[in-house]
C-alpha cells in the first residue's frame, strides 16, 4: 500500500534563483525503509521540507494515503513523526519525559499516554534511567535517540528522519537499525536521509539518489546490489610487478583495474568461469587474493561523480 506519493515536485528559491528540486517523484509504501541519499546541497532537505509543507513547491503534488495533501498537510502531519537536522526537536532545558509530554500533547496524547509511550521508547533504547535528566546533561548520541523517540511518540504511520545516525556510536546505531526494522515490520513507512552509506545499505530496502535537485537513481537496494555484484571481483596482490606477457594473459579472462604495480582489481569477463580465472591466477606469483563485494558507495560514486562532471 502506497503511503506517500511525491509527484514531479519542483522548487526554485526566488532570492538565490537556485533550482533546489527539479521534477522529483517517488513513493514510500507501508513497511518500506527508503534511504534518500545525495551530497550536501543536493536537495534532500528541501524535498523533505516540501513534503512537510515547510516550503511550498512551485509545481507538483503530494499524496498521503491516497489524499492530496499538497496545500493542506494536516492529515500527513497527524500520521507522521519527523526528526529534522539532528536532535533539534527538543526543549533542551527539559527532561526526556517532559519533552514526551509536550510533543505527545501536541500530537493529541494525554499526559498519561505520553508518559507510558515515552517509557516504552526509553526502555527500547536502554535509556529508562535518564527519563528525568535534563537533555543538556545527556551525551550527543543520547540526545539524538531522545529526538527520535519524540518523533516516534504518537506511533506514526510514516517516519521521516533527517540524518538519524548523526553522533550515534556503533551500539546506538545498531539499536536504531533494529528499531527501524521492527517499525517497518509493523507497517510503518520510513524515509531517511543519511550520509552514512553503510547504514543505509544495512537498513533500507529502497534507495533514492538525488544530485543537483534531480533524482538520478531509484531502485530497491537488493536488486541494485545484485546487479552490481553479478560479476565476481577480486583484488589480487602479486609478489612482483607483472610482465607485459603476464598482463596480456590476465586480460584474456578478466577486465582489470590496475591499482598499483603489484595490486590489481580484476573482474571476470562475461561467460568466463571462476575455475578458469583461478587456474590462470595459479600460474602467477599471487600472495593474496580477496573477493570484493560492491556496495551502495559504488552506486553513489558512479552517479554523483558522473553528474558532478557534467
Amino acid at each position: 500500500m502506497t503511503l506517500l506519493s511525491v509527484n514531479n515536485i519542483s522548487k526554485t528559491y526566488r532570492k538565490t534563483k537556485k533550482r533546489a528540486v527539479s521534477d522529483v517523484s517517488f513513493k514510500v509504501n507501508a513497511g518500506d525503509i527508503v534511504a534518500f541519499l545525495g551530497p550536501n546541497g543536493a536537495g534532500k532537505t528541501t524535498t523533505l521540507k516540501i513534503i512537510l509543507n515547510l516550503v511550498s513547491p512551485d509545481k507538483g503534488s503530494i499524496f498521503f494515503d491516497g489524499k492530496d495533501i499538497t496545500n493542506n498537510n494536516l492529515f500527513l502531519l497527524k500520521n507522521t513523526g519527523v526528526l529534522l537536522e539532528g536532535s533539534k526537536n527538543m526543549f533542551w532545558a527539559l527532561s526526556p519525559m517532559e519533552n514526551f509530554i509536550y510533543w505527545g500533547g501536541q500530537r493529541g496524547l494525554s499526559k498519561k499516554e505520553a508518559k507510558k509511550r515515552g517509557e516504552e521508547l526509553l526502555k527500547t533504547f536502554g535509556l529508562l534511567d535518564k527519563k528525568y535528566t535534563s537533555i543538556t546533561m545527556l551525551s550527543r548520541g543520547m540526545q539524538q535517540i531522545i529526538g527520535i523517540c519524540c518523533a516516534m511518540i504518537a506511533k506514526p504511520r510514516l517516519l521521516i528522519l533527517d540524518e538519524p545516525t548523526l553522533g550515534l556510536d556503533i551500539n546506538a546505531t545498531q539499536i536504531m537499525t533494529n528499531s527501524l526494522r521492527l517499525l517497518s515490520k509493523s507497517g510503518v513507512g520510513i524515509l531517511i536521509t543519511t550520509h552514512q552509506l553503510d547504514f543505509a545499505q544495512e537498513v533500507a530496502n529502497k534507495i533514492l539518489l538525488i544530485n543537483h535537485g534531480k533524482l538520478v537513481f531509484s531502485d530497491s537496494v537488493k536488486d541494485s546490489l545484485e546487479r552490481l555484484n553479478k560479476r565476481i571481483i577480486f583484488e589480487v596482490a602479486f609478489s612482483r610487478t607483472l610482465t607485459a606477457k603476464e598482463v596480456e594473459k590476465l586480460l584474456i579472462y578478466c577486465e582489470e583495474l590496475k591499482k598499483t604495480d603489484k595490486i590489481y582489481r580484476l573482474s571476470g569477463r562475461e561467460k568466463t568461469k571462476l575455475t578458469e580465472i583461478l587456474k590462470m591466477l595459479s600460474e602467477l606469483p599471487v600472495i593474496k587474493i580477496e573477493t570484493v563485494t560492491r556496495g551502495l558507495d559504488e552506486i553513489f560514486k558512479y552517479y554523483i561523480g558522473r553528474n558532478n562532471d557534467d
Binding site: 516550503v55 511550498s56 533539534k88 526537536n89 527532561s95 510533543w103 500533547g105 501536541q106 500530537r107
Partner: protein
C-alpha cells in the same frame, strides 16, 4: 485541548526547573510596583490625587501586556534559533492554533503573576484598591487585543528573525501611548484613540476606577471594535508572513 495543556505543562516544568530565577524576577517586580506606588503617593499630593489607583492598575495592565508580548517574541526568537519552531510547525495543529496556545499560556502566567504582585503590593502598602465589577469587560477585551498583538510580534520574528531591539522600542512607545488620557480629549481624538491597541479599554478602566461619569455604550463599542480590529490585523499579517516564509523556505533561517 491536549496541545494547550502540553504548552501549560511545559511552562510549569520551566518554572519548576528555574524556580530561583523566577522568584527573583517576582521580587524585582514587587519592588518596582512599590516604588511606583510610593512615588505616585508622593507626587500624588496635588497632581495625581485620586488617580493613584488608576496609575497602579494601568501599570499592572501594561506590565501584563508587555510580559505577554515580549515573552512571546523572545520565546519564538529562541525557538527559531534552536530549530524547535520548525519542529512545532510539524505538529498536526495549524500554526495559528500553535501561537494562540502560546499566547493564552503566556497570558495566564502573566495574569497570575500580576494578580499576585498586586495583592502583595496592596498588603504591604495597606492601600486596598476597590475594583468596580464593570472593569472586567475592558480587562478581558484588552487580553483579546494582546492575542492579536502576539500574532503581529510572531509575524515580525518570522519575517525579520531578530527583533529584540524592536521589542524594547515598542515597549516604551506603548507605555507613552497608554499614559495619554484620551478620555479627557475632544470627541474626534477619542474616536481616533479607538484605533490604537488597548487605548479605549485603558480609558474605560481609568474612568471606572476613578468613579467618573462616562458613556458606557461608547467605551464598550470602542473596546469591542478595538479588540476585533487588532485580532483581525494580527491574523491577517500572520497569514501573509506564514505564506512568505513557506514560499521562501526561510522558517529555519535565523
Amino acid at each position: 485541548m491536549t496541545s494547550f495543556k502540553a504548552e501549560l505543562w511545559r511552562q510549569f516544568y520551566l518554572y519548576k526547573r528555574y524556580t530561583f530565577n523566577y522568584i527573583s524576577d517576582f521580587f524585582l517586580l514587587i519592588l518596582m510596583f512599590m516604588a511606583i506606588f510610593w512615588g505616585g503617593s508622593l507626587v500624588g499630593g496635588g497632581v495625581l490625587g485620586k488617580s493613584l489607583n488608576a496609575l497602579v492598575v494601568g501599570y499592572v495592565l501594561w506590565s501584563l501586556i508587555q510580559n505577554t508580548i515580549s515573552q512571546m517574541g523572545t520565546t519564538v526568537m529562541n525557538n527559531a534559533k534552536s530549530g524547535i519552531l520548525e519542529q512545532q510547525y510539524l505538529m498536526p495543529i495549524s500554526s495559528k492554533r500553535l501561537f494562540l496556545n502560546k499566547s493564552i499560556v503566556n497570558i495566564i502566567v502573566s495574569l497570575a503573576q500580576a494578580i499576585l504582585i498586586l495583592i502583595v503590593v496592596m498588603f504591604f502598602t495597606n492601600h486596598w484598591i476597590k475594583f468596580p465589577p464593570v472593569m472586567i469587560i475592558p480587562f478581558l477585551l484588552a487580553l483579546v487585543v494582546t492575542v492579536g498583538l502576539g500574532y503581529l510580534i510572531v509575524s515580525l520574528v518570522l519575517r525579520f528573525k531578530r527583533i529584540g531591539s524592536t521589542l524594547i522600542i515598542f515597549q516604551y512607545i506603548y507605555l507613552g501611548v497608554l499614559l495619554i488620557n484620551f478620555e479627557n480629549y475632544n470627541d474626534i481624538t477619542k474616536y481616533l484613540s479607538c484605533l490604537l491597541p488597548i487605548c479605549p479599554m485603558v480609558s474605560w478602566m481609568r474612568l471606572a476606577i476613578n468613579n467618573k461619569p462616562y458613556n458606557i455604550a461608547f467605551y464598550f463599542g470602542g473596546s469591542l471594535f478595538n479588540a476585533i480590529l487588532w485580532v483581525l490585523i494580527g491574523l491577517f499579517v500572520f497569514r501573509l508572513t506564514d505564506k512568505y516564509v513557506k514560499k521562501n523556505g526561510t522558517l529555519s533561517l535565523y
